[in-house]
Symmetry: C2
Subunit: 446 residues, 2 copies
C-alpha cells in the first residue's frame, strides 16, 4: 500500500505510516475523544511494553507475522526470545494472569497503542498500526449488561468523532451454531461450516455451496444455509425469523441473550437504527462464545470492518487456570481516522494547539511580548511568541501556515499604551484593545 493516499499518511518505509503535523493533531484529537468516553464509563488505561516473550506471543500468534528482536550486533541466528506484540489481547491476557491478585474485578481496561505485524511490504498492509481496545474481564460470571455497555460506548464514540451512517451488526455465536444444528449440519463439520460462512462477503453463492459441500455439509443443509445467508431484513424481522425455529437449547439461549443485550442497549440510549441484527455474522472462530459485534461504515465499504469484538468464555487459558470470561471491542483507528480526514469529516486545519501567536515587531521589547503570551497562558489559552528575528509579514505568514486563530501585533509605543492589535485570521478582521479584550474574545469564541 502506498502510505500517501491524498497525503494523509506519509513516511518512507512501506507499511509504517506517519502523519504530518496537522493530521497528527486531528488524529490525536480523535483519540482524546475516544479516551474520554472510555474513561467516562470507568475504564482505566493500560499500557504494557511493546515487547513480550515470544513464547507468550506464540500462544495465539503466527510466527510468520510476529517480529522477533535481536540486537543488531548479535551473532546471526541468535535465539529470538522477545518479540513485538501483534495485538492487544495477548498482552491483556498475560497482564491479567500475571497481576491477577492485584487487580479489581470486573477489570475494565482500555488500551490504545501500536501493534506490529510482520507483513511483507508488497502485501499492501500496515506493519505498524494503532489498536484501540476496550474489555471487561471477570473472575466470575460476567453480566450481559456489559455487552450492552460496549454498544453504548461505541455509539458515543462515533457520535463524538462525527462518523455518519454506520451500522453496528450484532449476533450471538450461540444463534449461529444453533441454526447450523437446526439446518442439520453435523457436529463434526460445524466449525468448518462456520469458518466457511465467515467468508460470505468474499465469495459468491456457488463458491459458498461448493465449500460447504467439500466440508461434508449435506445437500439439504447447504440449501438452507444459502437461503439463510441471503436473508435481509430489519432487526424486528430478523428476530421474528429466529423465533420461528423449533429452538434447540443453544439457539434459544443465544436469542435470549441477544434480546437482553438489545433491551439494555436501549437503556444505554443507543438508537435502534444504528444496530442491525445479523444472524449470519460469524467473526473469528473459537474465541468468541456469545455476543459478536462488527461495525461497517456504509459510505465507505472499502474500509471493511471498522470496529469489531465480542464475548469470550476464557481470556487467558494459556496463562492461568482461572476461568476469565470477558467482552471486548476494538476500533480500527489507523484506517478509520485518516479516511475521515480525507473525506473532510474530521478537520485538519491547524498544526498548533495554541490559539494565539504573539508577534515581535520590535526586538527591544522581547520581554514584554513574552509577558503578554504568559498572561494569555495564565488564562488557560495556549499562546506562542514568534521568537525568530524575522520581519512582521514573515511572522504573519507563519501564523497563517500553522493555523493560529489570533495574531497579536504591537509596536513599542502600543506596548507602552497597552493598545494591542488582534488579527483574527479566519475572519480576516482586526481589533484593537487591551489584553482583556483578547481574553474575552478567547473565552467567548470557540
Amino acid at each position: 500500500m502506498s502510505n500517501s493516499s491524498k497525503g494523509i499518511l506519509v513516511g518512507s518505509i512501506s507499511g509504517f505510516p506517519e502523519f504530518l503535523p496537522k493530521d497528527q493533531i486531528a488524529f490525536n484529537r480523535c483519540l482524546d475523544k475516544i479516551k474520554k468516553e472510555f474513561e467516562a464509563f470507568g475504564y482505566s488505561p493500560m499500557d504494557t511494553p511493546a515487547v513480550e516473550k515470544t513464547v507468550t506471543l506464540l500462544s495465539k500468534g503466527n510466527d510468520s507475522e510476529i517480529y522477533g528482536l535481536t540486537r543488531l550486533s548479535a551473532e546471526e541466528g541468535g535465539k529470538k526470545e522477545l518479540g513485538l506484540r501483534f495485538d492487544l489481547t495477548v498482552p491483556l491476557a498475560r497482564y491479567v494472569a500475571e497481576h491477577y491478585g492485584q487487580l479489581v474485578f470486573p477489570f475494565k481496561r482500555y488500551h490504545i497503542a501500536p501493534v506490529w505485524r510482520g507483513e511483507r511490504p508488497q502485501a499492501g498492509r500496515y506493519r505498524q498500526f494503532y489498536q484501540c481496545d476496550i474489555d471487561v474481564i471477570s473472575e466470575t460470571e460476567l453480566s450481559l449488561a456489559y455487552d450492552a455497555e460496549l454498544l453504548g460506548i461505541v455509539y458515543r464514540i462515533f457520535t463524538a468523532i462525527g462518523l455518519p451512517n454506520y451500522r453496528i451488526k450484532i449476533n450471538n455465536r450461540k444463534i449461529l451454531v444453533g441454526l447450523m444444528q437446526e439446518f442439520g449440519v453435523e457436529e463434526s463439520c460445524l466449525e468448518a461450516a462456520i469458518r466457511q460462512i465467515d467468508k460470505k462477503e468474499k465469495i459468491d453463492a456457488a463458491a459458498m455451496a461448493r465449500g460447504l459441500q467439500e466440508i461434508g455439509v449435506s445437500g439439504s443443509a447447504v440449501e438452507k444455509i444459502l437461503s439463510f445467508l441471503d436473508r435481509k431484513g430489519s432487526t424486528a424481522a430478523m428476530l421474528s425469523y429466529l423465533e420461528g425455529f423449533s429452538h434447540t437449547l443453544l439457539l434459544e439461549e443465544g436469542l435470549d441473550e441477544l434480546q437482553e443485550v438489545l433491551r439494555l442497549a436501549a437503556a444505554f440510549r443507543v438508537p435502534a437504527d444504528v444496530i442491525e441484527v445479523d444472524p449470519t455474522l460469524a467473526r473469528g472462530l473459537n474465541y468468541y462464545t456469545g455476543t459478536i459485534y462488527e461495525v461497517k461504515w456504509i459510505d465507505c465499504p472499502e474500509l471493511g470492518t471498522i470496529c469489531a469484538g465480542g464475548r469470550y468464555q476464557n481470556l487467558a487459558a494459556t496463562f492461568t487456570r482461572k476461568l476469565l470470561p470477558g467482552v471486548g471491542i476494538s476500533i480500527g483507528v489507523s484506517r478509520l481516522i485518516p479516511k475521515m480526514i480525507e473525506k473532510g469529516l474530521i478537520l485538519s486545519e491547524t498544526e498548533t494547539y495554541a490559539r494565539v501567536l504573539v508577534t515581535v515587531q520590535d526586538r527591544n521589547f522581547l520581554s514584554q511580548y513574552i509577558t503578554i503570551a504568559e498572561k494569555i497562558r495564565q488564562h488557560g489559552f495556549g499562546a506562542e511568541v514568534y521568537l525568530q528575528d524575522k520581519p512582521l509579514p514573515n511572522q504573519i505568514k507563519y501564523a497563517d501556515r500553522k493555523g493560529f486563530e489570533v495574531v497579536v501585533i504591537a509596536n513599542g509605543e502600543e506596548l507602552r499604551q497597552e493598545r494591542l492589535n488582534f488579527k483574527i485570521l479566519k475572519q480576516q478582521r482586526q481589533e484593537t484593545g487591551t489584553l482583556d479584550l483578547l481574553i474575552k474574545y478567547l473565552k467567548t469564541s470557540v
Copy 2:
C-alpha cells in the same frame, strides 16, 4: 534491575516495566500535564513509527544497543533492515529531512513515546522506556530566545507535576571550550579533555588528573582544570568568575549567549533560584554546540540527570545537506514519575477517571440505574454502573478498591421517588437527595 521497587513498576520481563492501574493513571496524568504545557507554548505533537531503517538508526546509534527486527519464521541470519528506535532524535532528524518541504519553520515539536535499548537484562537498565522530548528546529539561524523558552517550559512542567527542590544547571559549550583554551589545553586534545571532564561526577580528583595527563594535557593546564572543577558558587559568582578571564573570542561569545538566555529566562518567569550556572557542565560531545542544560533533583541524587538537552548546530547532517540548527530538551519520565509516586509526591489513589459509581440494588430497575449514570455523564462527570449481579456490600467494596469518590445507592422505591443516597467515600458521609444535588456536589468539590 528489579522492576518492582515498592511495587510502582511491575512486569515479568526484566527491563520492560509496566504499571498497575492506579500507578498507570498517576503516570498518564503527569504526561497529560506535560503535554498541556508543550501545547500551550505552540509545540505540535509528533508520533513517528517505532521502527526505522537500520541504516538510519546506525547513523547515530551503536549496533550493540539497537534491536533489529526479523519475523520469527525468518531464516536464521536474515538481514535486519529494520530496527526499533533507541531515541527520539534520530526519528526527528529523519522526519524533518524527509518532510522538509511540508513543514513550517521554526518547527516546534514534542514527542512522548517509548524507545528501546538492547541492554543485557542483568545490566539493571530499562530496555523500554519513555522519552519526553521537545525541540525547535530552524532552517535559518535560530534565536537564542528559544533556549530561554525551553527553560520556561521545563520550569512550568516541574511546577505542574509538583517536583520540589531541583536545579536546572546551565552552561554554554563555547564557554567550556573557551576555558580550556584559556587554561592552555592544546587544540589537539581539546575534545578528549572535555570528554574526561564529563566524567567528573564519577571519578575523584586524582583519577581526573591522571586521565587528563594521559590525554596529553600539560601539567599546568591540569592544575587549572582541577581548581576550576572544584569551584562552587552562585550564578552571580560564576558569571563574575567567567568575566574575569582575558576572553578568547569563543569564551566571550559563549558568555554573551548564556547571559542573553538568562535574561530571557527571567522574562519567561523562571525564578533565578532554580537555575544554576555551571561552567563545568560538558554533556555529550560534538552534538551540542551552544547552550547545555542538565536538571538534577537535589532530594534524589540517585536518579542522576532527570532532564537534559541543549543547542545543536545541525540536526540532520546525515539525512540532508540543509543546515538545521535546533535546541531541545528531554525529560526522563520513566524514572522520575515512578520515583515521585514512590515518595508520595504524586498521588496514586484511584484506578478510575470516573468519579461516581452507581450501584444496582434491584436488578429489575437496571435501566433506571443506567439512566442515572447517563445523566451524570451528560453533565461531564464520569459515572460507572456496577453491572455485575452481586450484593450491595460487594459493590461498595468495589467502589472503595477502585477509588471512586461517590457511590450512588437506591432501591426501587427510592428510584421512583427520585430520592438517591450518595455515599462520599473519603469523607465517610452520606447524603440523600435528587440527582441535582449530586451534580451540584460534583461541580463544587474537586
